[in-house]
Structures are given as C-alpha cells and as structure tokens.
C-alpha cells in the first residue's frame, strides 16, 4: 500500500513547482539586465496597462499618457542596471512613469477646460446629461491641482492605497489622504449643480 502510494505520485513529488509570478518577473528582470530585449519586452507586456493607468491619472490626455508610458519604459530600460532585482519591478516602474507623467504635465500646464472636453469622452445613457456631466467634471478636474487630480484618480479609479499613492507621487501618506478628501469635495460641489431629468 505504501509502495503503491509512493508509485502513484512520483511526478507530484519530483517535478519542480511552477514559478510564481514574482519569480517569473525576477527571471525576466535578471535576463533583461543581461541585455535580453525580449525579456524586457515581456516586462513591458506585463506592466504597460498599469503604467498607462498611472500616467493617465496624472496627465490630462490619452496622448500624453501614452507619451509618459513610453518615456517611463525608456528611462527604466536605461536605469535597469541600477535596479535591484529583489525589489518589486512594478512599483519601481510606476514611480518612473509617474515622474515622466508629472514632467509632461509641468511642461504643458494645460488648463483649458474646452481642450479637455475633447479628450475626455465617456458613454452615458442620456447624451444631454452626459454632455453636461462631462463638462462639469472636466471643469472640476481642471480646477484641481495636478497632485489632487492624480490622487483621486489613482485611488478611486485605479484602486491604489494611500501609502502606495504617496510612494508613487513622492508625498506623505497623510498628504495623499488630504488631497483625496479635498478633491472629492471639489468634484461633488462642481457636480451638485447639475440638473436634469430622467
């Protein structure tokens, strides 16, 4: 009986365990640091969606978010030899992307709400209400400073925690909480005047 049991499960005992996502990422990072661009491309595939979300939370347009993502990955590739593989690659990358996005925002400083209206599009059930809500939200978002806007989008849309947002944007966790509170209040206030009928 014992022999049979031993014989029944040799593959489960002898086969190496499947690498976890973290281990797989670690292998890719080490390989990329040795100059394997295919491994870096695999890292891009793994992280580009999150990187885009981080960038999009900070900049005002889809195009700027794409630019920030490309800039971020380029900076990461160049700085790859300074990255310690035991760290979380995603967190390191997202900080770089966030900085790239902040640089773009500082360069552009777009405050024109009309320009924003064209770039922020959203499907709502009622076109008239949709347009008004979009306009109000656009105006409200444009009145937030770039840090508040990034905080509320990163928290409410992307689900980052306050501490993660703090690390991403280089601000204390308490500041992130405060920014979130003020941003929400301002958006609520701006949207509260919207009147419509359903």
């Amino acid at each position: 009986m014992t022999l049979a049991l031993t014989f029944d499960f040799p593959s489960a005992v002898l086969s190496p365990p499947e690498p976890t996502a973290r281990e797989r990422e670690h292998e890719l990072v080490v390989s990329a640091q040795r100059g394997d661009t295919e491994s870096f491309a695999a890292l891009v595939r793994l992280h580009q969606r999150r990187a885009y979300a981080v960038a999009r939370a900070i900049v005002l347009t889809h195009e700027d978010a794409e630019d920030a993502v490309q800039e971020g990955f380029l900076h990461a590739f160049r700085a790859l030899d300074r990255f310690l593989p035991d760290q979380a690659f995603g967190a390191w990358l997202n900080r770089i992307v966030a900085n790239a996005a902040l640089d773009i925002t500082r360069r552009k400083k777009v405050r024109d709400a009309d320009a924003l209206t064209d770039t922020i599009a959203s499907p709502f059930r009622d076109p008239a209400e949709s347009a008004e809500l979009r306009r109000r939200l656009t105006v409200a978002l444009s009145t937030l400073n770039e840090r508040q806007r990034a905080v509320i989008v990163l928290h409410d849309v992307e689900g980052f925690k306050h501490a993660e947002i703090g690390r991403l944007l280089g601000i204390p966790e308490g500041t992130a909480r405060s920014d979130l509170h003020h941003a929400r209040a301002r958006l609520r206030q701006a949207l509260s005047a919207v009147r419509s009928q359903l």
């Binding site: 870096f40 885009y52 959203s122 809500l133 409410d156 609520r188």
Partner: protein, 128 residues
C-alpha cells in the same frame, strides 16, 4: 442615479467615483491596442530614445546613398580623366602633325618642289 430638474443633486462619493471610472476608462479592451503600444515602446528603446520623425525613414538609405555618391564620384572622375587624356593626346598629335608640315627652311627646300596644294600655300605665305 435619479436627478430631478430644478433640484440640486447631492453627489455622494460613490457616484463621483463611478463617474470618474467611466471617464477614465481604459482606452481599449482589445489586445491589439496594447500590442501596438508595446511595439512602439520597444521601437523607441531600439532607436535609443529618439522619437521617430518623418525624416527617420531616410536613415536606412543613408549608407546606400553615400555609397552611390562615392561610386558616382569615382566614375565621373575617371571619365573626366579619360576625357582630359584624350584631349591632351589629340592636342599633342595635332601639334606634332602641324610641326611635321611647317615648312621651315631646310628640309622643305631640300625636298624640292612639292606637289601638294598645302605646301604651295605655305610657300606662298612665307614669300617663297
């Protein structure tokens, strides 16, 4: 979300969050968008960070163009050289031919009367 005309609607955090999520929705759910973005990122890295510009399409032709220009220069130089040599040879031959028919005194006289019209003309010109 019921909003009545004429009545300010009090927005809750959940509603604001939902609105933000709608507005900041990911640009594309299909994989092709992300494949394209990945390709652009890797192309940017491969080019050393240079943003692709419209004149970038000529980069691949620079070496070919330079080689063609060098080849054209060599060929035209060789052609010019051959042309110049040919001209010099013709000039030399012309001079030598002219020198052989110039009726300088001795040999022509010694040769005696010539039957050629050319010699007659030359003799006439020289007051022979």
């Amino acid at each position: 979300m019921k909003i009545e005309r004429g009545t300010p609607h009090e927005w809750g955090d959940e509603e604001v969050t939902q609105l933000l999520r709608d507005v900041y929705a990911s640009p594309a759910a299909n994989a092709s968008y992300w494949d394209t973005l990945e390709s652009r990122i890797m192309a940017r890295i491969a080019s050393g960070g240079e943003a692709p510009e419209w004149w970038g399409v000529f980069h691949g032709w620079v070496r070919v163009g330079l080689a063609a220009a060098v080849l054209a220069g060599v060929l035209s130089g060789a052609a010019l050289l051959r042309e110049r040599e040919a001209q010099e040879r013709l000039a030399y031959e012309a001079v030598m031919e002219s020198a052989s028919v110039i009726p300088v005194a001795g040999p022509t006289i010694a040769r005696g009367p010539s039957h050629s019209t050319r010699d007659a003309t030359l003799r006439s010109l020289m007051g022979y």
